[in-house]
């Protein structure tokens, strides 16, 4: 029987929640890396036992952790005392080394970006927000970092190299941080075209490469953001999340700061699909595993009131690719609920009856084994949840 493994990153450690395909009884493992912020964990499609985790701390900086046995044991790639570096290779202990590539041969000048007050500010590495393993190579993984840039490792996370064409594009000086920092938080790898990727940055917008990451173009036409000087600007939009169905990689769904959007031409043009949502502010968005026109969001009251409207935690589902939405409430608190659901904290499994999962800043992780009709908490009292991913296992 199939199984699922839910990977939960929190403010104070990582947790792994496991169940069989019924998704009724759960084993909870953790906290792993207790006391550290785990911004994101994700498993490789090429090797489901290969997991990557971003472990961060204001005190001690960035750590990359890797598991080769499905989360039972972890290590920092290239740092084990019995793992001698190859002759001529970089020294051990560099798996947490994210240095912008400003070299003449391969990099881009380390210029500045826009600060909150409109002045220019130097690029500074702060943390890894998102790790996206390659769809085909277990040792290849991408990292989206703050201040926004894209890095790649091709040796299982031991060494990281920037893809500098993104940060070095001519729009870079106009990017600015959102309230959470200037983070590259979304990385989508096109399952049909290995040279195409989509990424999103708060608050710069969405970008696409068609040449494997050498060059990038902003794909923000159709976005309107009233909170920036030019609401239709080429860059500067606070994109919170983008989701894609693997069967239709040119169709993307976006939860922006305000507005839920979609594109059907790989980001060349976007249109609003907020429709009858009670509020179109929010962070998460995801797509049903088997129904590419079924989309999920969790509406949040506003940009200053980061909690559900009326104290009712409701997932909204559209079965029409947007515009028409239904509230999903069964099993979710419908009074006095004032948690948030952060941008990387919703995911879907690929079992026949699609499972949907999300985590809250109140420490709950909710699961639905029937595409959102009914919900139940897997755990209620974790630290604030930063990210949720799920693996569907044979």
């Amino acid at each position: 029987m199939s199984k699922v493994r839910v990977l939960v990153g929190t403010r104070k450690g990582a947790f792994i929640l496991s169940s069989d395909g019924k998704r009724e009884k759960w084993d909870v493992s953790g906290p792993h890396f207790a006391g550290w912020e785990i911004y994101h964990m994700k498993g490789s499609l090429a090797d489901p036992n290969r997991l990557y985790a971003s472990q961060t701390s204001s005190w001690f900086g960035q750590i990359i952790q890797r598991s080769d046995d499905g989360g039972k044991t972890w290590h920092q790639p290239g740092s084990a005392t019995n793992e001698a570096p190859a002759p001529g290779a970089p020294p051990a202990g560099v798996s947490n080394m994210f240095v912008y590539d400003a070299s003449e041969q391969t990099g881009k000048p380390l210029t500045t970006h826009q600060w909150y007050d409109g002045t220019q500010h130097p690029w500074e590495f702060k943390r890894v927000w998102h790790l996206e393993p390659s769809l085909t190579e277990a040792d290849t993984v991408y990292a989206g970092i703050e201040d926004a840039a894209l890095f790649r490792s091709t040796d299982g996370g031991k060494n990281w190299k920037e893809l500098p064409g993104l940060r070095g594009s001519d729009t870079g000086p106009r990017w600015q941080p959102g309230a959470g920092g200037m983070c590259l938080h979304t990385i989508l790898l096109d399952p049909k075209d290995p040279l195409r990727m989509f990424i999103a940055i708060s608050a710069a917008g969405a970008f696409r490469t068609d040449d494997g990451g050498k060059s990038w173009k902003p794909i923000n036409r159709g976005l309107k953001s009233q909170y920036i000087p030019d609401p239709n600007a080429e860059v500067g939009h606070c994109v919170h999340r983008i989701a894609q169905h693997r069967s239709r990689p040119n169709t993307l769904f976006m939860q922006k700061h305000w507005d839920v959007m979609r594109t059907d031409d790989a980001g060349d043009n976007w249109r609003e699909i907020s429709g009858d949502l009670p509020t179109d502010f929010g962070f998460v968005i995801d797509v049903h595993a088997h129904e590419p026109e079924t989309v999920y969001v969790v509406p949040i009251k506003s940009d200053s009131e980061h909690f559900p409207m009326d104290g009712k935690l409701r997932v909204y589902r559209s079965r029409t690719g947007g515009d028409e939405w239904e509230a999903l409430t069964k099993g979710l608190p419908q009074s006095d609920c004032y948690v948030n659901v952060l941008r990387d904290a919703m995911t879907v499994d690929s079992l026949d009856s699609c499972g949907v999962y999300f985590g809250t800043t109140g420490g709950q992780v909710y699961a639905s084994a029937d595409a959102g009709d009914n919900w139940a908490p897997i755990v209620r009292d974790l630290p604030a949840v930063l990210s949720v991913e799920v693996q569907t296992l044979p």
Binding site: I63, Q76, N96
Partner: protein, 98 residues
């Protein structure tokens, strides 16, 4: 032999107890002690000093013989009490509470 006391999270990362001992070739300074520490425990690279600038991370401090050495020059010789192993070199995380 020089004794180094690590904050709890770095002990977990390095999989060691509260105190480690290291050998330093040549003069013992903050720089040479940290170099030796990172050679013995490469997983600590970047967690105490920035990878590139080698500057102390902002929320960490270094104490020697009950004195704050955080702002001393990194190549200043450490006192005999530390080089003899009588006193440890302390790496302390900033207190955060609330």
């Amino acid at each position: 032999m020089i004794r180094v006391v690590l904050p709890q999270h770095l002990r977990t990362l390095a999989r060691v107890g509260s105190e480690v001992t290291i050998e330093v070739n040549g003069q013992a300074t903050q720089r040479s002690v940290l170099d030796a520490l990172e050679n013995s425990y490469p997983m600590l690279r970047g967690t105490i000093r920035d990878h590139v600038t080698q500057e102390r991370r902002a929320f960490l401090r270094f104490f020697v013989c009950q004195e704050d050495w955080s702002h001393e020059p990194p190549d200043a010789p450490l006192p005999e009490e530390v080089t003899s192993g009588k006193e440890p070199f302390l790496i302390i995380g900033a207190i955060a509470g609330g």
